[in-house]
Amino acid sequence: MTRGFIYSIAAATLALSAPAMAGTVAPGDVVFADMSVATSMTGETGDPANGRKVFADRKKGNCLACHANTDLKNELFHGDVGPSLDGAGSRWSPEQLRAIVANSKQVFGDQTVMPGFYSLVVGKDIAKEFEGKTILSAQEVEDVVAYLTTLTD
């Protein structure tokens, strides 16, 4: 009984998130101030469990290409192009993490090698299949940010 109740709430939430899409901020309209993005870009809170998946997925965040993360130690081979993300949720506020993931150049400067995951400012000759698309959707960024906040010291 209780379980069914929870599931139906989950379903209702899912149904609600569709109209909320309309409230999603476009990549070019995200407001960066003080190395932060103050509010959710979709109006929804992030789902850390999905964020963990997006983080590890080679076709999505592929964050392990460049970052080690002890929480995902079951995944072999963590890169070291960027710093380990252990404790990232203690070092940065959620608003800062949102800015870093959405467009790291706004936080670290143009020289950073970290891609902007919700930005249309990209390199030369973008492949046709990716034209006009961001690497992650706004909600996926929110989910990853929610996950990063769980990586505390």
Binding site: N62, L64, A65, C66, A68, T70, K73, L76, F77, H78, G79, D80, V81, S84, D86, V113, P115, G116, V121, V122, G123, K124, D125, I126, A127, K128, F130, K133, I135
Partner: protein
């Protein structure tokens, strides 16, 4: 072999060390093929190259992969060298000639030739790599069809030709023709951010040389081993195929093989590795 390695790695990870990457940087080892031919895998960088020392990709590979290259009986790329020698001596085309009909013994004629490519080709008014030179000889001198990009025979003959310069220092002559302006153009491409991931060659091979991107130990991206035998593909991989792969990984459209853009890149990247010994056929992961 592989399972042992991953078991060792898993051990590192399970032991809870904060870094899951293996130690960075090239190994401190010498490459001597069959205990005979010493290959220069590190050397002082040419003036203007943004490294103290240029290093071969061989130094960044695992012990097993390095060992395969050091033993020509085990190196699967040597089969392509043999096949290339066969092609050299086989008549093809309307003129009824083989490469050997004009150039004679390949080992003699080709010694050192591959180490000095790309070269300015006055007739074409652009730099030529070995693949383009082969096609020119096939069309003009043999009345044979040019090879299609990455056809098996193109890769084998190129591998054979480069292998005749094994251990000789790679160098390009920028004083020939208009080479300098192609170098300029190649340099510009090298530092240009590309694709949805917004990365340049330099972001990976210069700034992060020695670091790991996932399981891949980032070398300086030198070209002295091409065509290279890749274990992952179980096949020879040409240089322009590699360039296109690296560009594709940034999620950018990749230029055609032998296009002006990639020829310019080849001139520039070859220059960066000046002095490294030719390793063809190198073995890579």
């Amino acid at each position: 072999m592989l399972s042992l390695k991953s078991a060792a790695l898993a051990g590192v990870i399970l032991s809870g060390l904060s870094s899951f990457a293996l130690a960075g940087g090239p190994v401190d080892e010498e490459l001597v093929i069959d205990g005979e031919t010493q290959i220069t895998t590190r050397t002082k960088a040419a003036e203007g190259v943004p490294f103290e020392e240029v290093t071969s990709g061989w130094l960044y590979r695992t012990e097993e992969t390095r060992a395969l290259e050091a033993d020509s009986f085990q190196n699967p790329g040597m089969l392509y060298v043999e096949r290339g020698e066969e092609i050299w001596n086989t008549v093809d085309g309307e003129a009824g000639k083989s490469c050997a009909s004009c150039h004679g013994d390949g080992q003699e004629f080709l010694k050192g030739v591959g180490a000095a490519y790309p070269k300015w080709n006055a007739k074409a008014g652009k730099p030529f790599n070995i693949e383009l030179q082969i096609n020119q000889c096939r069309e003009d001198n043999m009345q044979a069809k040019p090879y299609k990009f990455d056809s098996a025979d193109q890769k084998a003959l190129t591998t054979y030709i480069k292998n005749q310069s094994l251990g000789m220092p790679m160098h390009v002559d920028l004083a020939q023709g208009d080479m300098q302006s192609w170098w300029d153009r190649g340099k510009e491409t090298y530092y240009t951010r590309m694709g949805q991931l917004n990365l340049s060659c330099s972001n990976c091979h210069e700034e992060n040389n020695g670091n790991y991107i996932r399981a891949d130990h980032l070398s300086q991206g030198n070209v002295n081993g091409f065509p290279t035998y890749r274990l992952k593909q179980a096949d020879m991989v040409s240089l322009h195929n590699r360039f296109r792969g690296c560009i594709r990984d940034t999620r950018a459209e990749f230029p055609a093989a032998f296009s002006d853009e990639l020829m310019a890149l080849e001139v520039y990247v070859t220059w960066r590795g000046t002095g490294l010994g030719i390793e063809t056929p190198s073995v890579r992961q």
